[in-house]
C-alpha cells in the first residue's frame, strides 16, 4: 500500500494491466516517447515496446475506429484522447459504432474498449482544454461512462473498465492529477462499474456528485460540519450506468438533495439524477432538488477572474448546501 497521486494510480494500473494481459495495447497522440502530455503513460513504451504503446497519427476518429476493429479481432485496446475536448472528431465512431455494435449485431459482436481522456478545468486551459463532455456520452445506450474521484477509485475503476466487455469512457480530471493523493493498494482490485459510493455519511442533506467535485464536496462538508450541518456525499463513480438505488436511498434518507457537477447546468447529468428522484422519491423530499453546476456558457474562459467565476468551488458548494439546509 502506497500513497499515490490520482495520476500515479492511473499509470500504475495501466502498467499492471499491460503486464497481466498481452492483448492490451495503448495508443494515442504523444503517449509513447513523450509519455503523454500529462505524463500519464510515462515509461510504458520503454517497458512494453512500440507495438503495445503506440504513437498514433493526429486523428481521433482513426484512434477510436481502429481500436474498435482491433478489439473485435482480439486485442484489448485502451486508447487515449489527448484532451476530452478533442474527442469530438471521434464521436461518430464512439456513438454510432462502438456503442451500437453489440446491439445491432444482436450480440454477435462486442467491443471491449476503454477510451481514456483528461477533462475538466481550473488549470488555465480555457475553452478547449477545460471541457466536461460526459453528459453527451451518458445519454448513449451501449456506453459506460466512468469518472473516478479519488486515487483509490481511479485504480479499481480503471481495472474494471479494462476488464469490461463493452466500450467504457474513462474521464480523468486534470486538476485532480497531481492535487489528489491517497492510499492505493499494490495488488489488483476491481470496483464495480455502476455502483455509487457513499463517501461521507450525513443526515441533513445529500450532495450527489462525481469526479473532482467529490473532493470539493468533502471540503465543503468539513466546513459545514463545524457549522452543525451534517452532509452525506454520494459519489456516483459512473454516470452511465447511474446507480438509481443509491440515489434514491440517500434522497430518502436526508430529504434534501444538492446535485453538483462542473459540466454545464442545462442538459447535464444532474437533470437525470433530479428526474429519477422526482419520479421515485418525490414524497420523501423536504426541499426542492437543487443543482449547482457550471453555468451555461461554452466552457470556461482563460482569464483568471472569468475562469474562477465559472468554476464550481468548495465555497460555492458550501453556500448552496447552507441555503438548502436552512430550507
Amino acid at each position: 500500500m502506497a500513497v499515490m497521486t490520482y495520476l500515479e494510480a492511473i499509470r500504475e494500473t495501466l502498467r499492471q494491466e499491460l503486464r497481466r494481459d498481452d492483448r492490451m495495447i495503448i495508443y494515442g497522440e504523444d503517449v509513447g516517447v513523450r509519455g503523454g502530455v500529462f505524463r500519464v503513460t510515462e515509461g510504458l513504451q520503454a517497458e512494453f515496446g512500440e507495438d503495445r504503446v503506440i504513437d498514433s497519427p493526429l486523428a481521433e476518429a482513426a484512434i477510436v475506429g481502429t481500436a474498435i476493429g482491433a478489439a473485435i479481432n482480439g486485442l484489448r485496446p485502451v486508447p487515449e484522447i489527448e484532451f476530452a475536448d478533442f474527442i469530438f472528431p471521434a464521436i461518430n465512431q464512439i456513438v454510432q459504432e462502438a456503442a451500437r455494435i453489440r446491439y445491432r449485431s444482436n450480440g454477435d459482436f462486442g467491443v471491449p474498449l476503454v477510451i481514456r481522456a483528461p477533462f475538466g478545468g481550473g488549470v488555465h486551459g480555457a475553452l478547449y482544454h477545460s471541457q466536461s463532455v460526459e453528459a453527451l456520452f451518458a445519454h448513449v445506450p451501449g456506453l459506460k461512462v466512468v469518472i473516478p474521484g479519488t486515487p483509490y477509485d481511479a485504480k479499481g475503476l480503471l481495472a474494471s473498465a479494462i476488464q469490461d466487455e463493452d466500450p467504457v469512457l474513462y474521464f480523468e480530471h486534470k486538476a485532480a492529477y497531481r492535487s489528489l493523493k491517497g492510499e492505493v493498494p499494490d495488488e489488483r482490485y476491481l470496483i464495480p462499474i455502476g455502483k455509487a459510493d457513499v463517501k461521507r455519511q450525513g443526515n441533513d442533506l445529500s450532495i450527489i456528485t462525481y469526479g473532482l467535485m467529490v473532493s470539493y464536496a468533502q471540503r465543503a462538508a468539513e466546513t459545514l460540519e463545524k457549522e452543525g450541518i451534517s452532509v452525506e456525499i454520494l459519489d456516483l463513480r459512473s454516470i452511465r450506468p447511474l446507480d438509481g438505488e443509491a440515489i434514491l436511498e440517500t434522497a430518502k434518507k436526508t430529504g434534501k438533495v444538492l446535485i453538483v457537477h462542473e459540466d454545464n447546468l442545462t442538459g447535464g447529468i444532474g437533470g437525470e439524477v433530479s428526474a429519477l428522484i422526482a419520479e421515485h422519491a418525490l414524497f420523501y423530499l423536504d426541499a426542492p432538488i437543487v443543482r449547482l453546476a457550471g453555468p451555461d456558457v461554452p466552457a470556461m474562459p482563460y482569464s483568471p477572474p472569468l475562469e474562477h467565476a465559472f468554476m464550481v468551488t468548495p465555497d460555492k458548494i458550501a453556500e448552496a448546501s447552507r441555503n438548502l439546509a436552512k430550507f
Binding site: P57, A61, I68, I72, R104, G107, F109, G110, P141
Partner: protein, 320 residues
C-alpha cells in the same frame, strides 16, 4: 485458375443477381419495405472475395455488397431472413435495415449505415492481425461517394503509417445516390489519392471478375508480406436505383444506363465461360436450376420464419 474456380465465381455472381431480383419482387409486392442492391457490381464483389481466404480474412462490407457476402459464404436463407427482419437473421436478428451485413462466423464485420466508418474498422482489424500475427488480411469495401468523408482519409493514412495488412476496395459506380462523381471529387479516379498516402492505387475493370481477382490477390500478397495497404478502384455501374426508395430517372439518362448494360458483368462473363468451353450449356442450365431452387427455398424459409419477440427489444445493449 481452374475451370471449377471460374465456374464457382460465376455461380456466385448469378446467385447474387437472382437473390437480388427476388428481393425487388418482394419489395414490389409489399413484402419487403426496402431493398439495397448489388445489381451490376457482382464481378467486383465476387472477384475480390475469391482472392481472399474466405471466412478467415476479415471483410468489412457496405450495403451494396450482397454478392460479396454470398461469395463469402452467407447463405441465401440468411440473406432473406435479414431482408425480412426475422428473428433468425444472423446479421442482426431483424434489428438492422436490409443489407447491413455482419456475421462473426464468417469474419464479416458488422456494419452500420454511416458511410466510411468501416474503412477505419478494417485498419483496426488489421492492426490486431499485425500485433497478433494471425495471418489475416482485412478488406474494407465502399463506394466512391464515401471517399469524400474524412474517415476514409484517416483510415488510409493510419493504415499506411503502420503498414497494416489491409486492402481498401472502392466500388466506383459513378454516383452517390443522385450525385455524380464529378460533383464528388475533382479527379477522375479515386485511385489518384493512393500516392498521397504512399500506397499503390490500382484501377481495375470492375465488370471483369478475373481482373478484379488478380489485383486483389496481388494486394493481399503485398499485405501479407508486410508491405502495407493497397487502394483498389473497381470501375463499375449500378443498374438499378440506389435503393427501392430511389428514382434514378431524375438524375441519369436511360441511354447512359443502356450503354452500361451492354457490359453487364453477368452476361459478359457467362459468354466468356461458354465461348471458352469452361462452362457447358448443360452445366449452365443445371446451375440456373440450382440457383432458382436456392432462391425459392430461401424465400419460403424466410417468409415462414418468426418475427422477433418484442420482449427481446432490450437485449444486448450490453454484454450479458
Amino acid at each position: 485458375m481452374t475451370p471449377e474456380f471460374q465456374k464457382d465465381i460465376y455461380y456466385h455472381m448469378a446467385l447474387a443477381r437472382a437473390v437480388d431480383d427476388r428481393m425487388w419482387i418482394l419489395n414490389r409486392q409489399g413484402r419487403a419495405p426496402v431493398v439495397y442492391s448489388s445489381n451490376g457490381h457482382e464481378a467486383a464483389q465476387v472477384g475480390s472475395a475469391f482472392a481472399l481466404n474466405r471466412g478467415e480474412d476479415w471483410i468489412v462490407p457496405y450495403y451494396r455488397d450482397l454478392a460479396l457476402v454470398l461469395a463469402y459464404g452467407m447463405t441465401p436463407r440468411e440473406v432473406m431472413l435479414h431482408l425480412l427482419g426475422k428473428a433468425e437473421d444472423p446479421n442482426s436478428g431483424g434489428r438492422q435495415m436490409p443489407a447491413h451485413w455482419g456475421l462473426h462466423r464468417l469474419h464479416i464485420m458488422t456494419t452500420g449505415s454511416v458511410v466510411a466508418t468501416q474503412d477505419i474498422h478494417a485498419a483496426g482489424l488489421a492492426l490486431a492481425s499485425k500485433v497478433l500475427k494471425d495471418g489475416r488480411v482485412s478488406v474494407a469495401y465502399f463506394g466512391e461517394g464515401s471517399t469524400s468523408q474524412g474517415e476514409f482519409h484517416e483510415a488510409l493514412n493510419f493504415a499506411s503509417v503502420h503498414k497494416l495488412p489491409v486492402i481498401f476496395f472502392c466500388e466506383n459506380n459513378g454516383y452517390a445516390i443522385s450525385v455524380p462523381a464529378r460533383k464528388q471529387m475533382a479527379v477522375m479516379d479515386v485511385a489518384a489519392r493512393a500516392s498521397g498516402y504512399g500506397m499503390p492505387g490500382v484501377i481495375v475493370d470492375g465488370n471483369d471478375p478475373l481482373k478484379v481477382y488478380e489485383v486483389t490477390k496481388l494486394a493481399r500478397e503485398r499485405a501479407l508480406a508486410g508491405d502495407g495497404p493497397t487502394l483498389i478502384e473497381a470501375k463499375t455501374y449500378r443498374f438499378v436505383p440506389h435503393s427501392s426508395d430511389d428514382d434514378d430517372r431524375v438524375y441519369r439518362s436511360r441511354e447512359e444506363v443502356a450503354e452500361w448494360k451492354k457490359r453487364d458483368p453477368l452476361v459478359t462473363f457467362e459468354k466468356y465461360l461458354l465461348d471458352n468451353q469452361i462452362l457447358s450449356s448443360e452445366e449452365l442450365t443445371a446451375m440456373q436450376q440450382k440457383i432458382k431452387d436456392a432462391v425459392n427455398d430461401a424465400t419460403d424459409y424466410a417468409e415462414k420464419a418468426a418475427l422477433p419477440d418484442p420482449s427481446t427489444l432490450g437485449l444486448y445493449v450490453y454484454h450479458q
